[in-house]
């Protein structure tokens, strides 16, 4: 309904709202006040404050009333000369890209699969994905910990008893960093794929069948049609979904934190989110690191955001 609503009769510019002359301007602004205040005090103010504090020495003493000292870029240089911080940044980027790519590949494949199978198979797949999508993150985390459990986890049981890998019988999945990140990736991908699959499937339904038929009559093979027509036509959906995946996977916290609490070595498994959390007593350092993370997010996504803003007329 929304897509077909012209504002001023006949004019095809729905994004420009009509002017109302009779209302005083002040009334309009007062509509924005409540939302602006809440966002301002709970997001804006902490953001500005964090940025300011990132140039200060702000540790335990300052929390108990000592005045904060200005230290210039000290926090930043401390962080950026620490090779461990670079390790974590590199690890976070690698984790983010691997997860985003794997999620996209599986999600797009499942969307295409949904389109190509019969009704009952499609609905089965969709319900299954919706169930995973609707599960609260903490509940998912506990289930996956139980599945990967060392003693009685069903994954170890299958690997050792069904596939005959005896060494896996009492395997601990989260002690080794690489294996830890494998488990984290499985969980993150399991949770994220439904969103990608449904969004892309919705995009696929928008591809007009006439175009496909015309291409087929012209002799284009199924593969040519997919790469030459379908993919370019659903490109906007693909890029938004990919953008969101990159943002989400870069700042992943809950999954890593919960798995760490399950007994993984923290230092070898920290990503940016958990590293910031570990500075929770050093506000200056936490602020600096959070600022670095924001810059990193912008660097990874800025291009896409600009593109989207250009295409989407406000």
């Amino acid at each position: 309904m929304a897509a077909t609503a012209p504002t001023v009769s006949g004019t095809p510019t729905p994004s420009v709202p009509p002017t109302r002359r009779r209302r005083p301007k002040l009334g309009v602004y007062s509509l924005l006040v409540p939302a602006s205040i809440v966002i301002g005090i709970a997001l804006g103010y902490p953001l500005v404050r964090q940025f300011v504090i990132s140039f200060q020495e702000f540790g335990l003493k300052q929390q108990f009333g000592a005045p904060a000292e200005w230290v210039g870029l000290q926090n930043y240089t401390d962080l950026l000369t620490d090779s461990y911080v670079w390790t974590v940044i590199g690890r976070s980027i690698a984790f983010c890209l691997v997860n985003a790519v794997v999620t996209m590949l599986i999600g797009v494949s499942l969307a295409v699969l949904m389109q190509r199978v019969g009704r009952s198979a499609r609905i089965t797949l969709q319900v299954s994905l919706l169930l995973a999508w609707g599960t609260p993150v903490l509940a998912s985390m506990t289930v996956w910990q139980w599945l990967f459990d060392t003693q009685n986890g069903v994954i170890n049981w299958v690997l050792s008893n069904v596939l005959g890998m005896d060494s896996m019988a009492q395997h601990s999945w989260i002690i080794e960093p690489l294996s830890f990140f494998f488990v984290a990736t499985v969980i993150v991908v399991w949770m994220s794929v439904p969103f990608v699959a449904f969004s892309v499937y919705a995009g696929l339904l928008q591809v007009p069948s006439e175009t496909m038929e015309a291409a087929q009559l012209d002799g284009a093979s199924a593969r040519q049609r997919f790469w030459g027509i379908t993919i370019p036509m659903i490109r906007p959906v693909l890029s938004i979904v990919l953008l969101l995946q990159v943002i989400w996977d870069l700042k992943v916290f809950t999954q890593i934190y919960v798995l760490q609490r399950a007994g993984a070595p923290t230092r070898d498994t920290n990503l940016l989110g958990t590293l910031i959390y570990s500075y929770s007593k050093e506000f200056g350092m936490a602020g600096a690191l959070a600022t670095i993370m924001l810059v990193l997010t912008l660097a990874l996504t800025g291009f896409y955001i600009r593109q989207m803003l250009k295409e989407d007329e406000l």
Partner: protein, 306 residues
């Protein structure tokens, strides 16, 4: 906050017919197509079973007594199961305490976020004023800020105001976190109701306020429901900010409570943990399935309109 912040564009109702593949020309082509279609169908079912298995396993394990969970071979079906795990969770007072905290937070967040977002959406989609574009742009950019890059600072600010370990404190940061997307979503809905409808009603003698509440508001109901559902899922499932703000065990929300349950039972009794997870997850999943179809059409049109 954004652990679940998925439903930006959401999917499609499950029963929407596909406009699949082009015409098939020859007999052999048809039989080949239907065979590969059946193979793909099989693949889809296999994927579906694999994807749903963790949820099945949660429910199955929740009904198993401890000796079956620790047996050499796993029990694949919950036959002869027990509800003792559920009883143990429900009889534990901390579960209900966390439930009350979660409910209180969610109710405050939903009321505040829906009213505030609705007013703001009304302003940006029905009026043209100076600063409108910058407001919308701010809303867009704010959504990109990861909560994980801000939570220490938010904690500090709340601490300064004595709002740590308070329902009001958590509700404040939650409301701020979901407001941008809620405004963005409602904006599409408000813009989707043609203003001519309202104006026609005014010509017929209704006041502006009357026209708004009799004509426009009912048409916006689906949008408000969709935004409410989105906000509910966000606030109900959120973990990160709750972890930082609610440090006192007596003030735990349900996700924090569940993590506490895991940490005290990890080595000993997974059945109780799974019962706790199931109690938290199943109502949310059912609710999600129920509203997903309804939400979708609204969300998509809201999103398309942008």
């Amino acid at each position: 906050m954004s652990t679940v912040s998925a439903p930006t564009t959401l999917g499609v109702p499950a029963d929407r017919p596909t406009k699949v593949t082009a015409t098939r020309s020859s007999e052999s082509g048809r039989s080949q197509t239907s065979r590969s279609r059946r193979l793909l169908g099989l693949l889809a079912i296999v994927v579906a079973v694999a994807w749903v298995f963790p949820i099945y396993w949660m429910i199955n394990s929740a009904f198993q007594p401890l000796n079956k969970l620790q047996a050499e071979n796993p029990a694949w079906l919950p036959f002869g199961g027990t509800v003792a795990n559920f009883r143990q969770v429900i009889n534990d007072g901390t579960f209900w305490q966390a439930m009350r905290t979660s409910l209180a937070v969610v109710v405050i967040v939903l009321i505040a976020a829906l009213i505030f977002a609705f007013l703001a959406a009304l302003a940006v989609s029905r009026f043209r004023f100076k600063g409108r574009k910058s407001f919308i742009l701010t809303i867009l950019v704010v959504q990109m800020i990861p909560a994980e890059g801000l939570f220490i600072s938010q904690y500090q600010v709340l601490d300064g105001w004595g709002m740590v370990n308070k329902i009001s404190g958590l509700a404040l940061v939650y409301t701020a976190a979901i407001l941008p997307f809620t405004i963005w979503m409602l904006r599409g809905f408000v813009a989707g109701v043609p203003i001519e409808l309202e104006e026609a009603a005014m010509v017929d003698g209704l006041s502006r306020v009357g026209a708004f509440f009799r004509i426009t508001f009912p048409l916006l109901a689906p949008g408000l429901v969709a935004a409410g559902v989105f906000g509910f899922l966000q606030a109900w499932n959120e973990y990160t900010l709750a972890l930082v703000v609610m440090t006192d065990p007596a003030q735990r929300t349900l996700p924090l409570w569940l993590q506490g349950l895991v940490e005290s039972n990890r080595a000993t009794d997974w059945g109780v943990v799974m019962a706790g997870s199931a109690l938290i997850a199943i109502p949310v999943i059912v609710f999600f399935l129920f509203v997903q179809g309804k939400m979708t059409s609204g969300l998509v049109s809201g999103a398309v309109k942008g």
